[in-house]
Symmetry: D2
Subunit: 345 residues, 4 copies
């Protein structure tokens, strides 16, 4: 079977990881990536020897790239014509503009969470509503927090039903290496309900959700606490077992040394994972408590990489590569190496 041809627009924090993730899929071919300026990410691509061909999204700025010694293989429009599907990880708003190009050439595209919902036909999550993405032209992925959150809620929902959730998002305020945003010795509060709770209800309309988001001055990994009311009464241990069985959830404990979000980043670095990334969300065993019918627990969201698997699931859906949710996500997982470690336990 011919490999599905994929391009990536926007080679930033997410775009780089999408490119790496697609390159690992044996049934896909990464045709190239597009960006506009000699950013550090592009300079690193060059220092790595240009493993991915670079296309320019702003042909008039091509000279800036070449002046920095970076070879350019063509324009974004060239790239679009060569692929079956584009992953659009450009800055918020640019994706909507790029969509015109994708439409012009009748290509499929998957937008990241920063775009407005109406950029796409379907608001998509690989586990929660894979079927809705089948053969669609345009998908929008859930944001990093929502992607990880839905993994956990969908996991229990399929076992015991979920009536409602109330979430507290303890948000990392900036990515490592960001200087243009940041917070210093402050916790910042957002207007409630948080968009993640609202988005969860869009994807899982049978669940009632609300939530509060607080920004904190750290760079590695959001933490979300979730107060969940299952429809069927389950024990903390049952919940834990369901989580442990999910390929994209890593159950960890304080005793093992996972004391917080920084432990997970350190662990991923020590694993030798490229960039110290982790695709799984982590869930702390020691935080799972039951109070009356509610289950409360805390998860860690590796914001830079968590949406990569669900984005690749999206390619499988729009291209109809697998019709079945489990078959699709398992294929993505296999090529990304997700869940291998579970065999060790």
């Amino acid at each position: 079977m011919a490999k599905v041809k994929v391009g990536v627009a926007g080679y930033g924090v997410i775009g780089q990881r999408l490119a790496d993730g697609v390159a690992l899929q044996e049934d896909m071919e990464l045709v190239g990536v597009a960006d506009v300026a000699p950013t550090l990410s592009i300079r690193a691509l060059r220092e790595r020897g240009m493993p991915y061909a670079l296309y320019t999204a702003l042909p008039e700025k091509k000279g800036d790239l070449e002046a920095a010694g970076i070879p350019v293989s063509g324009t974004l429009e060239d790239l679009v014509q060569k692929v079956d599907v584009m992953l659009d990880a450009t800055s918020a708003g640019v994706g909507a503009k790029n969509k015109e190009l994708y439409t012009k050439y009748g290509k499929k595209a998957i937008f990241q969470g920063g775009e407005k919902n109406d950029v796409a036909d379907v608001f998509f999550h690989g586990y929660a509503n894979y079927e809705k993405g089948l053969d669609a032209q345009f998908l929008k992925l859930t944001s990093c927090n929502t992607t990880g959150l839905i993994r956990a809620v969908d996991c229990i929902d399929r076992k015991a039903g979920v009536e409602k959730v109330a979430i507290t998002i303890i948000r990392r305020v900036a990515d490592p290496g960001d200087y243009h945003r940041g917070l210093t010795n402050a916790l910042q509060v957002d207007k409630a309900p948080s968009h993640q709770a609202v988005d969860l209800m869009t994807i899982m309309p049978h669940v009632n959700a609300t939530g509060i988001l607080v920004h904190t001055p750290v760079t590695h990994g959001h933490i979300i606490t979730i107060v969940m009311t299952p429809k069927k009464d389950i024990s903390a241990d049952e919940a834990l077992k369901y989580f442990d069985d999910h390929p994209r959830i890593r159950v960890v404990s304080l005793d093992e040394g996972f004391l917080g979000n920084a432990s997970l980043f350190r662990y991923a670095r020590d694993l030798g994972n490229p960039r110290g990334d982790m695709y799984e969300i982590a869930l702390w065993k020691d935080t799972v408590v039951k109070s009356e019918g509610d289950i409360m627990f805390a998860i860690n969201i590796p914001q830079e990489s968590v949406t990569i698997p669900e984005s690749i699931d999206g390619i499988r859906a729009v291209m109809g590569m697998q019709k079945d949710r489990i078959e699709a996500t398992n294929t993505t997982n296999k090529y990304l190496g997700i869940g291998k470690w579970k065999d060790l336990s």
Copy 2:
């Protein structure tokens, strides 16, 4: 009527504020404070001209204080004999030892939250269980987070009943000026349920409580999100009105400029409050949301000063100065200047 004579053991973050708070009570007399070494707080007391007499808790180390130019008025044992009640704000464990001295002279004492519960006859909160403290010899105050949390929960409980709460404590990890503890670019997770949830159930045994605590690298003000299930259905607006009527809760909004915990500290400084302290907890109007029967909201706990009013309430209880909860707390509030600002609204 003779003023009640009060001493403070431990002149650190809390002890200094207890001394200042007692000094403002017109029906109390601050006899003196006790400490052991020429800390910055003691050096500041000297630079201020010794408004409070200093007693030494370690007579053999008196020379260190005098070498730093700090006059010493006697020993902790001397101080105990001169007072009716001691406020013990020493480091965890020292209070239990000091208790022998208080027992020896038949004096009353109020311990701060760091001590174990069994140090005292009653685990005390000025609003939630004032009556239990009446005429007791030894009280232990709730910790800073628990004190503020109970204000909010008790406030609704007296209006609509509270069946259960699930809390997420976003904890500041160190006080301003701490170097011996700290956290850098990490969120640290504690084993659940948090002690604050357990403590709430000790004080309010009819409420079911659980919670998760996450430490964050900031110094000003814990933030707690609370998912509360009232017994009687109330709207978000009703909840807000009850909060707004509570003397020790300050309802604030993002629109006014209160964007997070740092805004409250800045505002208290701009008010000219000594040390930039605030006795009230703040509650963000913009975070109060209703989801099915639950009310969810976020509060700010000024950790350095929040327990001062309830500690003074404790003096009123153990000394029998007021028999009535409202009369007692209102008297404390009046002398501390709490709630005056509500008249402006």
Copy 3:
């Protein structure tokens, strides 16, 4: 003698402190302050009972202030007409615009460090070039880092001469309560030489200066290390003695408990200083080292309040209140309570 009438434009971090500082000068009268919106600072002014009359700099926005319950006494133009001198602490660029108003009414004005140098006739420092400010119409104050730095350099220069300095500014990146700027887990480097080194040479043209500035994620107090080459060889102890004799330099030590910039903020709070402010720079005794002919040492700059005394010196200069540098600065110091604590040592 009639008091000098002073107005303050811009009631933010610096403006509030200028107003408080002027209000303490027995030979000055604070006529009022001007601002544009119901910021937290203005809301605090109201909660304090309007100790200072408020004028609006944007008459068309007066309604916003009144809607927040804040009484308005007139316009900035009204205020300018009532005063002898304006202290302009508005955001960068606004001062240059306000200057037209000051010029229209022939009033004197002193601008803060954020404005461009050409806004004023004289670039001013109370200790280093007081005489240049005498009877000038417009002064621009040095910025917070430069003000503190020049105190230390001028102090040695008047005793031993200073040939050159090389400074490293370890800059706090935001003020307490700031959310619009910040830095998270990063040190940010600026292009060298830093403007503070260049500004020092403008004020003290006989000194050669260079420097590097690094932004750090903290809110309280810049730290500057200074490598200074005196013209006359002096010992570390001699340098220390000169510093200790300077009214606006507070020599502190690690042994006393001053472990870093946060200790100084804590100490100022414990002193009961309004807002926890300190007017003095601190200099760590334990950092003063000599290497060949150079003296190296570290100072702390309390960025929110350090320029207040030199700004008030500026009023004395432009109004000719004192002709002599020492007489002027001593008068400022007396009313601000600076140096009193030195008598304790």
Copy 4:
């Protein structure tokens, strides 16, 4: 020629990187690593499939490792017998104890900077005093800051001579993933002169050095500013050229996007370097300034990985693998992939 057999004691932040670095040397064989408990690093080793054999330094605790599913190949004493040289990266003080074992079996060992100088015969730096390490039994490496600092100072010293340096170390306070130490919203000052300045004089006794160290709340990369007085007058451009020619110094600029220490960490991650590590120090072109005869500039020290190359140089020295400093360091560089990128420029 037989490969040199190397063991690593202590598989923490440094030990892991030493093991990885040695494994890359084609003329060395990594026999195994030793540690005591199932830390996260050891758990990661297991999840990676045990690429390195693990020996236990505490045989009585072997059960803890096995209980965590980690296979143990023997004891530290077993490991020592199998190797030619041990790299000791255990916690401070443990190395001195391990030395008894190394002595017992007549093995060579190289200790990291945390040990006391008298643990070894030679205090070593690959570039500055390689010859002293030749055929020695015990070396102690310079600490991370000193290693990077000496690269830069030695680089100029060999071209123009260096008379003196005055350094300001802006130190990251904790490594990513540390919770046991940390600093929150504070800059902490150490007693001067810093040990790094003193250590530099031990290695380079003809240079006069002093310095001040300030701890800052970040985790990635110390920054050091250096005021250097060369013996021979050189321009900033000449200095820059010398730095650029040094294999272990990476000259970067703000314009390229290297805005601070977090940019370098991000760039190393984007390069795909394991753990996001970088062996080179970075030097900001934009900070190199000349003032009278002095050259001032700022460098970045990647604290987790910077000592790895010089540690491997140490193996070459003690084993007499190369007699020449340049030949030895170039061989280390070749196998670590250092300097390859320079060909791109």
